[in-house]
Symmetry: C2
Subunit: 281 residues, 2 copies
């Protein structure tokens, strides 16, 4: 199956039907497990990233619902990192053709320019979905929203300090992030290809989002290293009708160990997160 | 002078003192002048981009105050385009060491991740300034805001249809974009390295921004292909004390002609924009 033939939503829905809600973030680039040092020395950074990805995917692919890759960690290493990013995404398509890959790129420009980011994300890199900034509005995002086989996850209530500075600004009794969720649910989702990014660190926000966007799939980062509580987040994310969300963890899984057991420990952490989600299910 | 030694604000202030306010956007990638077809065929895309950039910079460098390069047009072409982007930025530093280069990348993630985007923009690519999304708040942008020799242009009131969807959302009598401008002016600019992006297509918005952020330098896109009126925009951008803004045009300059005269026509358009700004000055 070529990248163009892949349908993010078919793949995601299949995973959700199989009760697979964990999304592992393959965000390398700041650290490497010690067993990969020799690969780095002998074959370079790109090869070390590929080995890392292959080991993590082999250890977690039967458990996860999706992989998420943040472009920043690869772009920081220039073209060598970006080549590795491309190889990793396309390799996951080969290793596990049924697992969707979300490029966490947080892009957002005018429409004319977003068409080029879509070419980068879906054409060059081969991702199945992307995260985008809402600030420039629906019409600017047309090149993403118009691709019905791709996932377009709109930043709504993000994790991290400072997120509330604008997202919490109240307008007609609603904070901005609720307005974003409502606009996406009511106006942006004509091709049924929108999702919302709502951090696990704020279950109250997930509940508010679910009130105005009951059927929009959620991407929930912030468990693990960022400290969000899984049970609270998952309880809030349940929609009335069906469970359509990914709970995403990155550093807490891929950096679970830096020793020979790094892949095994990543699997343990992934399974633990999977089971926490099932427990609430 | 190495990239690390360059100071965006020293360079920009020098240009403003010389009454140079035009910023030319080197956004290739969608079209090429016909004389560059043979370069494309014989030496590849990266070489064609470099030839294009060299010709435009040679024809406009004595007039402009800054160059702006939008990452999307290069990333769309994958690592070949990104290599060219790096070469172009670093070549401008050599050809015209006094001209600052703004990477229009519109990035924005959590702080941990933004550190990697800063490495990409300033380390790998060698840019002097970057554009960023405000949606995730001040604390998320610390890796940019903490680099005092770099320019951090925060998206405020953007061009293009749909920009008002959230930017115009009113909170305490102020639309969101005014709140962004006020926060940047009052809280984010501790290192005196912030700017605001306010589109020429909305002079009223520029005036509102100037009311709350009288001293923050502006990057004003949207003249030329996007139709903003230069005189209105420049009148609105004048601050009480000094003129600190760049008026940016891309397609209307670099695609002024596709024939042998493309560089000369780019120079004419750049001079015309320069003179329009002086006329108001």
């Amino acid at each position: 199956m070529t990248v163009a033939q892949r349908d993010f939503w078919e793949l995601a829905n299949d995973k959700w039907r199989q009760n697979k809600f964990v999304c592992v973030g393959l965000d390398f680039g700041t650290q490497l497990p010690i067993p990969l040092y020799s690969v780095l020395q002998e074959q370079g950074l790109g090869a070390a990233f590929m080995h890392f990805a292959r080991a993590i995917v082999a250890a977690t692919g039967d458990v996860v619902g999706a992989y998420k890759i943040n472009s920043a960690f690869y772009e920081a290493h220039g073209t060598e990192g970006i080549s590795a990013l491309r190889r990793i995404i396309r390799s996951i398509h080969e290793w596990y053709p049924t697992i969707p890959v979300i490029l966490d790129a947080k892009r957002g420009d005018i429409a004319f320019t977003n068409e080029r980011y879509a070419q980068y994300a879906f054409g060059f890199l081969g991702a199945d979905a992307i995260t985008v900034h809402p600030y420039m509005g629906q019409e600017s995002l047309a090149p993403f929203l118009g691709r019905s086989n791709k996932g377009v996850f709109v930043l709504c209530r993000t994790t991290g300090d400072g997120a509330d500075e604008f997202q919490g600004a109240v307008n007609d009794d609603n904070p901005l992030y609720v307005r974003v969720a409502a606009r996406v649910a009511e106006h942006w989702n004509k091709n049924q290809n929108c999702g919302l990014v709502v951090g696990a660190t704020n279950p109250h926000a997930i509940r508010r989002v679910r009130e105005v966007a009951p059927d929009i799939p959620l991407l929930i980062p912030g468990v693990g290293a960022q400290g969000g509580d899984v049970l609270d987040a998952v309880s809030a994310a349940h929609s009335a009708t069906e469970r359509t969300f990914f709970v995403s963890a990155s550093r807490s899984i891929v950096f679970a160990s830096f020793m020979d057991d790094f892949a095994g420990r990543a699997r343990q952490r992934t399974l633990a997160l999977h089971e926490q989600i099932q427990a609430r299910g």
